[in-house]
Symmetry: C2
Subunit: 327 residues, 2 copies
């Protein structure tokens, strides 16, 4: 199979999004169903996603297992894996984890930009490490078949999560802090621990956390991927672009400020460059994702390695963590 | 005025509770309207409290200001100050703080037994210190006139809260860790910082965090109060018994496990002594609260000091922090 799995995208998907992803050779994508939303709001979001997928069932289907992604690719469709970038959907209730898994959710980030009952965030002055409820939720996610995501989680909490989890975990969309220093990026310790435990990091193509150099050409970006492989290992590096669809100013306001402050928070951006970051120079449209396999070959990866980075590492991790992944 | 203010009680109050409190000379009490409840559940709880108070308006009234407590005492009623032992009622929304203040809530603890978006808890392995949302909420509570409570909050987060708050804060129900070592009790650093900033600690009469010695007689308990005064100063020590009304096993289960675990958590208790802690030997019924003024005199406090500990320190702090406290 020759395809590309994107470990994390967000924004308002529409029929055109799926058509473009398909055209670019993307077989599967983890979509962001929520940032700050509580349980009821998350059900609303899942309802909207079900409608969107039902109305466009000729080009997109939900993936509950790796086999669904393979099937989607064979059917010429995009597989949408339902994910949340925060654990607010559980609303502090351990018993809701199982129910959201039954409703198709497969990837949940322990916390987003702020500390919560589970863990510390990369943006807090101090990362608490994994908290009591976080340990409970990870074991429950292991049991019910959800992938633990630590992309916006602090390094300390991420290391704790790797240790606490009985299954490998993911950093679906971040880069190596040693390659481009940013609070959102992960320490080499985290990347090595991911590598040693079967976890996967999805290399991001979001300028604020990638830096201008690695955004210049597909080759420089693939150079970053190659350096990440040197840290985490070839079985633990994949793609998680963090690409957003149809995002507007109110979306950025929601994503960054939610309802937690009346002030301004810049998220991964900064006061100097507060708005929408320009996409990488090589990634102006979704179609450009089709440059990735050749880009990886150009920086020296073998066919086998290209397959791991573009889809096999995600498929292997999903197989080890998703509910009903044997069926 | 000669009265007693209890900085924190919890449980299921009924008409008899208020009659007993009145009979024991209690003029005001902060009641616990919630432990884990979210916004809607907290409105439900406030609704039940309004009904209870309305149905018993000959013996109890709501206090929104210190003047209301004085008026209640003069009318021969108990003043109920509405409080929550967790910030879950805000559900991560900065704008709900003002609304709950308008609905009469005057005391809110930053977090209960688990870390949350605001702060670290005394029971977490690591206390994160005050988190980003915690800073926002404290300033908003300052603005809208709510007292910040850090009783179950970790020492580090409590010190951060004292520094971040523009108004003095409270530890409504805890003891000095140097007198009885327990995770729920506060370090001397915290008590001294409270003393230096006009904050107040309410000495608890809950056996699990007081210890058998200080539970033996009213004199030994008042001895503990005197030692606490040596640490925090005479203007910063008051009473917060943590007395529970009509508590049964399901109430303890809710208080300790809420919905965050399927396992067992003992809260301030322990595996060795998991159930309801016996009350202090001197405090078998609410009526025994009337022993406190004389007990304080016995361990050497002057009339002026007794007045501060029994009610003036709370009245002063409420005056400095409660909404509309000038009216």
């Amino acid at each position: 199979m020759n395809t590309l799995i994107d470990g994390l995208q967000c924004g308002h998907f529409d029929r055109e999004s799926f058509a473009e992803l398909k055209s670019a050779g993307v077989g599967g994508v983890v979509v962001t169903c929520g940032f700050w939303e509580g349980a009821l709001e998350s059900l609303d979001s899942l309802g909207r996603w079900r409608d969107l997928i039902r109305e466009n069932s000729d080009v997109v289907r939900v993936a509950l297992t790796p086999a669904d992604i393979v099937a989607a690719t064979e059917e010429g469709k995009v597989a949408a894996i339902l994910g949340f970038q925060n654990a607010n959907l559980f609303e502090g209730r351990i018993r809701l984890v199982e129910m959201f898994a039954e409703l198709g959710v497969r990837v949940v980030q322990l916390t987003y930009n702020n500390q919560n009952e589970l863990a510390g965030s990369c943006y807090e002055a101090e990362d608490s490490g994994l908290a009591r409820f976080g340990k409970e939720v990870i074991l429950e996610m292991n049991r019910v078949g959800m992938l633990v995501d630590c992309s916006h989680v602090g390094n300390r909490s991420t290391l704790d999560a790797i240790e606490a989890s009985e299954k490998p975990i993911a950093v679906t969309h971040a880069n190596a802090d040693s390659l481009f220093p940013h609070k959102r990026n992960k320490s080499d310790d985290v990347l090595k621990a991911l590598g040693e435990t079967g976890g996967v990091i999805g290399c991001a193509a979001y300028r604020n956390i990638t830096g201008d150099y690695y955004c210049k050409t597909i080759e420089t970006w693939c150079e970053m991927v190659a350096k990440t492989v040197e840290i985490a290992g070839i079985d633990s590096v994949a793609i998680g672009t963090d690409r957003s669809h149809n995002f507007t100013a109110p979306d950025y306001a929601w994503m960054r400020m939610g309802r937690w402050t009346r002030g301004i928070d810049y998220g991964a951006a900064s006061a100097a460059r507060p708005g929408k970051a320009p996409p990488p120079d090589w990634f102006l449209t979704l179609q450009d994702l089709d440059k990735i396999p050749n880009g990886l070959r150009t920086v020296g990866f073998s066919e086998e390695e290209v397959a791991k980075i573009t889809h096999q590492n995600w498929l292997r991790l999903y197989g080890e963590t998703f509910r009903n992944s044997d069926s």
